[in-house]
Symmetry: none
Subunit: 151 residues, 2 copies
DNA sequence: AGGTAAATCATACTTTAGTATGAGGGCCAG
DNA sequence: CTGGCCCTCATACTAAAGTATGATTTACCT
């Protein structure tokens, strides 16, 4: 939480500094106003994207709630067994990590993809290995596939 | 797809209009520059957030559309492509190791199963990773499955 | 016989994975 | 409002995995 406050403070300071610089530039007419506004627009566009990606959980929740609205009576050959996931006690986040592992990503890559730290991924992975009764991620993937928990 | 183009066009137009309005306002000094920049920053911050959240939904849509398209192939779903194995230059022994890796075994376990030393398995694995253009055994398994080289 | 590819093994490293432990914040039901 | 679950992160290890290099043996082809 401190990190958030500190980061927020730094961002505010930088914004104010940039704002003042922009103001001076505009008044002195050294830089066209379009460039200034465009620059700020770009910066905050990126900032918005970054902010939106952090709470990835909420987006996923929306997806998860939206999917049950599509009941598929004909059981496909590669249908995943959602009950099994619950039985195994695999949480949403853990399941996401499991899927990324199955795609062959490393912990660092998964961390970057899910916008969390590597240690978080390690924790999830460790829990997954316990819940799937596996000793390695490759075994976890094999077991999960057999249990129809992933495709 | 048209929607995307149309939306993009509208957004561009609106941006230009707003930019001109801002320019005039600044020149006439009717609105402080801080407010202008702040407004643009806010707009694009929100835009960034919206952009970042969209892809999550599209994935679901794509999946939903992908499922009905599946029941077409007359070929067995789990047929392995032997030609591909040759193309990749994977030798007999390497293929055996690949299969064991896919089952989730460790190098030591594979070595015991195939009655060779661990270093031999490491050599085979290393060669496999090159031939499958993978960085990890999990990625090798994922790639091999995709290429229908293993089940 | 000589060249080649495969398979085997080893040694020495570097890099990932995985374990253990502790800790803080968010959320929700009781 | 408290306990439990989830998610997050960090640190410090231990254990695997993967790389690089070199060497030996075998089988096969020309």
């Amino acid at each position: 939480m401190r990190n958030i406050v500190i980061t927020f403070g730094i961002v505010c300071l930088c914004s104010l500094v940039l704002l003042q610089m922009a103001k001076v530039a505009v008044i002195k007419n050294t830089v066209p106003i379009e460039i200034i506004i465009g620059g700020f627009a770009g910066i905050f566009l990126v900032a918005g994207i970054l902010i939106a990606r952090r709470p990835a959980q909420r987006v996923v929740v929306v997806e998860a709630k939206a999917e049950p609205a599509v009941p598929a009576p004909p059981v496909a050959a590669d249908a995943i067994d959602r009950r099994k996931i619950e039985e195994l006690g695999i949480s949403k986040r853990e399941y996401e990590v499991l899927c990324e592992i199955a795609l062959g990503l490393s912990n660092v890559e998964i961390a970057e993809k899910l916008f969390v730290s590597e240690s978080t991924i390690k924790t999830h992975t460790s829990n997954l290995l316990m819940k799937l009764d596996a000793k390695r991620r490759t075994e976890a993937v094999a077991t999960a596939r057999e249990l129809r928990v992933i495709n």
